[in-house]
């Protein structure tokens, strides 16, 4: 077959025609420039994605700080304020719905589409979802007594969006990251139902 193709070398599409093309160096510089530009653009897209990723992680750090400080100060997160809660003394109580709204706003600003915020009781390993991308958590009444530890854990999904749009087949998958803070409950429930700092 090769011999036959070699004999019909001038025929377009034949093997010899390809060899002739390969020997012809015209335009090779332009091809190299184009390939170089493509590599350069991909590198720039990668840098852009890394910047975006850092910003998203920084935003998540803010969300974690917010949820942990609120849940620590309130001694947990409840659907409604506990009996005896005085807004003038302790500040406005943040309900589960308030916290979910706040988290949703922060996540949409950070362009994070999938997330899950949980509070874990390290004593018995109970995990309760406070907020997630699909909607508010179950709204459990979580109360941690004074000095009891609680772990605020956030799971979120990030990816290299710009570079995955540039590539013909989207083989760059998103990956799940996780961050957590451990805080102590700051309120003591008295026998008469009044919370004390």
């Amino acid at each position: 077959l090769l011999k036959e193709e070699a004999l019909n070398g001038k025929k377009e599409g034949g093997l010899m025609y390809l060899f002739t093309l390969k020997k012809d160096k015209r335009g090779s510089l332009a091809i190299e420039i184009v390939i170089g530009m493509l590599i350069f653009l991909t590198a720039m897209a990668l840098l852009l994605d890394v910047f975006l990723l850092t910003w998203q992680i920084s935003e998540i750090s803010t969300v974690t700080a917010y949820v942990s400080s609120v849940s620590g100060n309130q001694g947990g997160i409840n659907a409604s304020p506990p009996i005896g809660w005085n807004n003038n003394v302790y500040g406005q109580y943040s309900r589960t719905s308030d916290i979910h709204r706040q988290i949703s706003n922060m996540m949409s600003e950070a362009k994070i589409k999938k997330w899950k915020v949980e509070i874990i009781n390290p004593d018995n390993g109970t995990v309760k979802i406070i907020s997630q991308n699909s909607g508010q958590g179950v709204g459990p009444n979580l109360f941690f007594d004074y000095g009891k530890a609680m772990i605020v854990r956030i799971e979120y999904e990030v990816g290299l969006e710009t570079i995955s749009r540039m590539l013909p087949e989207n083989k760059i998958t998103n990956w799940t990251m996780r961050t957590s803070r451990t805080v102590l409950g700051d309120y003591k429930e008295r026998f008469d139902g009044i919370f004390n700092r």
């Binding site: 350069f40 840098l47 890394v50 850092t54 992680i57 854990r153 803070r181 451990t182 102590l184 700051d186």
Partner: protein, 168 residues
């Protein structure tokens, strides 16, 4: 003689432009890789330091509140359990570090409180003396490059000052 032959060969090579663009191409890619490594490292360091600072802030806050004896405070006395403060702070930091994806626990060298000082010179409204606890919460973190490993010890020192006001 050998020198002249070498020189001729060298001048021939200089005049021969074949592959000159490829060399530039390789140099460009190398510079790009170094640049990407540089930026990625800077961003990883920044993110890690941010996270550790936030972590230390929340852990220090919880630990210091827990270590002040609230029962004594109701009787206008200020008592801070320093031992408990140290233990709680270390526990809270190490608990939190278990679940952070982008920080290796092996990179944390030491978690400690450098000094704890309690005085009555706290600043507050009015002319009353206020109790003040000053403590330096420290996390020592080993930071090294990701693509090209470079060892080095970077100490992150976060100082947390707590002003505790007395009712007396």
């Amino acid at each position: 003689m050998e020198y002249s032959i070498g020189r001729t060969k060298l001048s021939k090579l200089t005049r021969n432009k074949t592959g000159s663009f490829s060399i530039l191409f390789v140099i460009l890619i190398f510079i790009l890789v170094v640049m990407i490594d540089f930026f990625v490292n800077i961003l990883i360091f920044k993110t890690t330091i941010n996270e550790i600072e936030g972590l230390v802030n929340s852990s220090a806050d919880s630990a210091i509140r827990f270590s002040i004896d609230s029962a004594s405070h109701r009787s206008n006395r200020y008592e801070l359990d320093e031992y408990q403060l140290r233990i709680k702070f270390e526990d809270l930091v190490s608990y939190s570090l278990r679940d952070i994806s982008y920080i290796n626990r092996e990179d944390i060298v030491r978690v400690y409180i450098a000094n704890i000082n309690t005085s009555t010179t706290g600043i507050g409204d009015g002319n009353r003396l206020r109790y003040q606890t000053t403590a330096d919460f420290v996390v020592e973190l080993n930071i090294s490059g990701r693509l090209f490993r470079r060892g080095g010890l970077t100490i992150i020192r976060v100082s947390k000052r707590m002003v505790y006001s007395s009712s007396s």
